[in-house]
Symmetry: C2
Subunit: 242 residues, 2 copies
DNA sequence: ATCTCCTCCTTAGAGGCTCTAAAACTTCTA
DNA sequence: TAGAAGTTTTAGAGCCTCTAAGGAGGAGAT
């Protein structure tokens, strides 16, 4: 009873869903996160409040949907940057990917803050609902970064701390994650990868939250200095942006 | 007309103000940031909605007041940790201060997230209203960290990047800040200080926002590894926690 | 061609929120 | 003791989330 005769309806519905998410994003960027309300979004697309509940069953679900959109867009931007340099060295591709991430962040600070400078559903509840679109999009995003470090490791293992330098408890935590992910990186390499990720996350979040305004008017060179640092940690040659 | 005959009233008012801020904090920790509403806080202290406007002229002002409270409490905790080791080496005192910061963050994750994982009024508007209690408390907090690095620099200058390694634009931005602060650190040293601060901020915010749950169940050793790293950058001997 | 069903949309409304206005109650002072 | 000052209340406008009930229109079945 489904696929055959519901195509037209389904297309219309899809278009409306897209329009709603665009309106939500527009409100976010123009009037801030607090303005992304069911009522305001409904007004924006020309329907009256409760009608929107035919598309999203709650405000939280709308929020999750646009969050997933942002993750997917950022993922695509980073993958494009990576794939546009398919013939370049792995290290150069990683740098390009990281630069693409900041490029998106500064071009879309509200969206970046929306998805990253926010409390994440705790691991507990993520294990209960692993397959929401939001969580799938976030996982896919994570793999853009992690996947490149796996490639890098496969191509040219980077320096890692000696086994006795890594705290045994941390090693165990990382080993559990490595196992769940198929052991593409040993715990020591995962530790280096996480260190890199944490530094990029922190710097970008501070920037989009204006936490660095008090001292820096232009964070781009700070980001480049960080990338140079990370390149050093990963045994890569740092190449300045094109 | 003020001080002499208004003491009793003023005392009562002060007590009510304190009670309101405690209620707001209780709501934050027990029901999350969205539950800190004027109405809910008023109910909590046993008065009805609009009465609270005699103490705080808007929701934003209440938020700013408890934010200032949190900054002051964290500042005090860190200063205590520092001063409890007045006779120790500067490096050990700095490590103790940083550990006190994480101690407060994990003991009060909601409060830490409330003040740090939030958009800051942009520098523009901070320059227009520099003397709100919130901004003063935030500045005082910043000085706990920066002040110790100044002491450290005065006692034993740590290694800094060579002048030609530091991006000229960054150098200029830092020089402007150094001038405003009385030149207690040269731009190169400020750059190192900010690198340290950014790494601590990022790691602690990721932790309180559950952004590391997916891989780490215990972030303490990661924090210690970061401190060891920073100690290395600052030419300090790393000493494990007591 | 009509009938039924399903989808989409509407209005009405309960209950919460911020914040203003006006009135009432308390306390302090002259 | 009367008025001033400070505190608190109720009423209410206008926003919000979300539920309930019903209307208008196309899609398939008879």
């Amino acid at each position: 009873m489904a696929a055959q005769h519901s195509t037209r309806r389904a297309r219309l519905r899809e278009a409306t869903l897209a329009e709603i998410r665009e309106a939500a994003r527009r409100l976010l960027t123009t009037r801030g996160p607090a303005a992304v309300t069911i009522n305001a979004v409904a007004r924006e697309v020309g329907m009256s409040g409760p009608a929107l509940y035919h598309y999203f069953s709650s405000h939280d679900e709308l929020v999750a949907a646009v969050t997933a959109d942002f993750f997917r867009e950022l993922t695509a931007v980073m993958e494009n940057a990576r794939d546009a340099r398919a013939d370049a060295a792995t290290g150069e591709r990683l740098l390009a990917t990281c630069r693409a991430m900041r490029g998106w962040a500064v071009a879309h600070p509200a969206e970046f803050g929306w998805i990253f400078a926010a409390a994440v559903p705790s691991a507990q509840s993520a294990r209960l609902h692993p397959d929401t679109p939001r969580n799938r999009a976030a996982d896919d995003f994570g793999m853009v970064f992690l996947g490149q470090l796996e490639d890098l490791w496969a191509a040219a293992p980077f320096p890692v701390p000696a086994p006795d330098e890594l705290d045994p408890s941390v090693r165990a935590q990382l080993a559990a994650y490595a196992e769940a992910r198929g052991h593409r990186l040993p715990p020591e390499a995962l530790h280096v990868a996480m260190t890199c990720w944490i530094r990029l996350w922190g710097l970008l979040c501070m920037e989009v939250l204006n936490q660095l305004d008090f001292i820096y008017s232009d964070v781009a060179p700070i980001y480049e200095a960080t990338l140079r640092d990370l390149a050093g940690m990963l045994g890569l040659e740092y190449t300045p942006p094109a």
